[in-house]
Amino acid sequence: MNKFFTNRLSIISFIFIPIIFLWHPNWLGFLGAQPYWPLFWLLPWSMINGSFNGLVFGLFLGLILDSLTLDNFSQIPGLMFCGFLFGRIKINTDILVGHFRYGLICAFGSILCGTLLLSQILFKNFSDSNSLIFISGLKNILAEVFLTGLFAPFICSKILRKFKFSRIKLH
């Protein structure tokens, strides 16, 4: 049983992302925003499996998360782009530098996804009070980037180590 979980850790953790996304614990929030959970999984996955895999799983993640949220705005473009970019990043041998890199990369990914979402929202509500949406959107992006960058060093390095371990076991 233990071996089963170790071998399929990446897939099992993938299944849990939407659950964490729905869980949305308020005590982890900042200005009403939450860390962008899918990036914590996507970064280690893409770093290990490469750009193409990152792109594909970015799409998969986007599809699942879009099904959980409202219809009109999609997370797919942001996640696919992030998956592709993350795949091009090499794993750093220096553990400490690696930790901070995860934080920075995830924060950058969060800016990217947030900006793409905001642009979709602005485009959709072009006629209505655009400036108000823009200000609250900017606030959302900043809060999300801060939280994602803060948590990424802890979560990503842990997940990356687990993924690498399960991969070694598989080979």
Binding site: G32, A33, S136, N140
Partner: protein, 249 residues
């Protein structure tokens, strides 16, 4: 050589009694410095059940609640009777489902809540969801066991409302923060801070007269429209149980 060591037990700090006295002394000094606050607070808790006004206040509040409830029922009956006479839509119906909020996204990009009742329980897309205080949003989609609700604060939400005092119709648009925007398509529209906003009888999406919020601030008048920020009466970030009104308009 001289042995000048004394018997240790003869020193005052070796006596337990001295320490007890010192402790009491320090405590009294503390009481003095704190001006008896410790005692006063203790008395506050001890005497609380015996306060004369407390029970009286409860009794009065209970009576006021009962009176309000009776008045509300009478007004409801009157309202239904008058609406029948005028052949207007019913403002309320009893065909509602209670549901618990199982997931909540009230900040960030997605402003929605997930309820524990779905299509199995008869919930349909477009059903109205209300909570303590008033309107929360509309059911956006349903699964077998759950229903997701687009909150009024979501940028996706656009509903017809009106200002009760001046009976001016407008559109309530979510702007992605906690205060949705009311747009009135007339620059001379009569609106004041503190005005009560409820669902419009002209709305095709909502039953009329569901309380929504209060005008918190009025923005600068644009070329052909007035906008205002609305403070919602129902707080989706706090509410755990909601009512789903089954009948669509």
């Amino acid at each position: 050589m001289f042995d000048i060591r004394r018997i240790s037990s003869s020193r005052w700090w070796h006596k337990k009694k001295s320490w007890i006295f010192l402790g009491i002394f320090l405590f009294l000094v503390f009481v003095r410095i704190s001006k008896g606050s410790l005692y006063k607070d203790l008395f506050y808790f001890i005497s609380k059940p015996f306060w004369p006004g407390q029970f009286q206040k409860e009794v009065i509040l209970k009576s006021i609640d009962q009176e309000s409830l009776i008045k509300l029922n009478l007004i409801k009956k009157d309202n239904i009777r008058l609406r029948k006479i005028l052949s207007l839509q019913e403002s309320s119906n009893n065909d509602s489902i209670s549901a618990a909020v199982i997931s909540r996204k009230t900040g960030g990009w997605w402003r929605q809540i997930l309820l524990n009742k779905g299509s199995k329980d008869g919930v349909e897309v477009g059903n109205i969801v209300t909570g303590p205080g008033g309107l929360l949003g509309r059911v956006n989609n349903t699964s077998l066991f759950t229903a997701s609700v687009t909150l009024l604060t979501s940028p996706e939400s656009k509903l017809g409302v009106w200002i009760d005092r001046s009976q001016t119709n407008g559109v309530l648009v979510g702007s992605g923060d906690d205060l949705p925007t009311l747009i009135l398509y007339s620059k001379d529209a009569d609106i004041k801070v503190g005005d009560f906003v409820s669902s419009s009888p002209a709305s095709s999406l909502l039953p009329p007269n569901i309380p929504i919020g209060i005008v918190q601030s009025i923005d600068k008048t644009l070329q052909s429209k007035k906008t205002a920020k609305i403070l919602l009466l129902a707080k989706p970030n706090l509410i755990d149980w909601v009512q789903i009104l089954k009948e669509n308009i």
